[in-house]
Symmetry: C2
Subunit: 236 residues, 2 copies
Amino acid sequence: MPDTPAVTARGPIARPAPLRQAVYDALTELIINGSLKPGQHLVEAELAEELGVSRQPIREALQRLHTAGWVDLRPSQGAFVHSPTTEECSQLLSVRALLETRSARDAARHATPLDVARLWELQRAGVTALAAGDARAIVEANADLHGHITLLSRNAVLAELIPQVDRRVRWYYMPIARPRGQDAWNEHALIIEAIADGDPDLAEELMRRHTRNTTDFYCQQIAAVTGSAGLPVDLP
Amino acid sequence: MPDTPAVTARGPIARPAPLRQAVYDALTELIINGSLKPGQHLVEAELAEELGVSRQPIREALQRLHTAGWVDLRPSQGAFVHSPTTEECSQLLSVRALLETRSARDAARHATPLDVARLWELQRAGVTALAAGDARAIVEANADLHGHITLLSRNAVLAELIPQVDRRVRWYYMPIARPRGQDAWNEHALIIEAIADGDPDLAEELMRRHTRNTTDFYCQQIAAVTGSAGLPVDLP
DNA sequence: CGATCGATGATTGCATACAGTATTCTGCAT
DNA sequence: ATGCAGAATACTGTATGCAATCATCGATCG
């Protein structure tokens, strides 16, 4: 049948991308890169004009941003960029450690050689970014690597939950990305090897250490600069 | 100052409850109790009329239901009640076990005598419901108990994440609530004792067993009635 | 008789308009 | 000068209207 040639098999064909999705992406980006600061009041009309859409898609995006933990939604007052407390950060890191440890274990059980090759690719990208000293790129590469391990766990629920936590962690610990870079990426390499060997116990243990190190390092940094830079504390 | 008498000190005073919240609650209720069946197409206009509001709050609620995993949102086609696959259920149970095990551990470290008393209250409620044979009430009591343990973990992120998973699990395993009731509530009692004793290791281990038992039982039930009742499999 | 194409109805996505509420500013009394 | 009262303002919450898109059904052609 040469009548249906062009369509190969790549999933549900391109649906018209809903505007709310674009708005959602735009706003998360603005929050992550700091254009919208914690505690800042997000006025729907302003955002609407800035992004060139009406208030409706803005509101729908804000709903999603709320459940994802990016903004707080106070009735009759509107949306405010979420201000994380140090306590919340430590809790987030704690939960992240739990979930990632599990995903590393499952990844070691399911990964194929092709998957492992992809992991090494991401590892190289991270090391490159580290050498270049680009904190932004380091954090992103880190998220990509961890995210891929998540996928390899073959657990859709995990893969759906972890980014919710991880993207926020990513945002919080931007400032510490560079200093801990070297150690972190060495640990990554060990984890990948464990996954490649199909050794669940080892992968789990290594990831446990890795996340613990990251958490500890983060807490030290916080303690050192308590409240001064990077992280605002509490909201009124 | 007799001018401000009624307001005691219970947090932010009563804000006008947004309509979208009521809609959200109403729809989750309708999904859980089966009035809205998996795969069913949710037409905004119908829901709006049925609940006596306009389409706007409906849409906002649907956004939240989407991110919470209750409905699937297909662009230009609307909202459909999510159809869980057996695979997804097992993954959900797996993640729930992970999170609850952790929360039990932390609860044992933080619980006060007052907290424990509250746990025993909930336990009694569950046993009562069990005796009455009311599956609906059993499931609810179960969720309440687990939810309170979550709170005792003093980890806001956990407390926020677990219900996301747990409420869905609750929905899925309604059918098995009664048969496993007796064992489940015996295990609950042991867990509460461990928490009361402030024994994190024991609480963790007991919760691990408890969730594993539940998961196993669930999988058996599924295998027994494969696809026949209770759970629809896959969507087209 | 089956399949393809086109028309119709239904439904979503987006924009706009209106009403209710919180905040802020101004003026006044103390 | 300071504290309070009242009005004006700004923003959110909700409702409605319109255009674009998708699914369904019927007619036409092979």
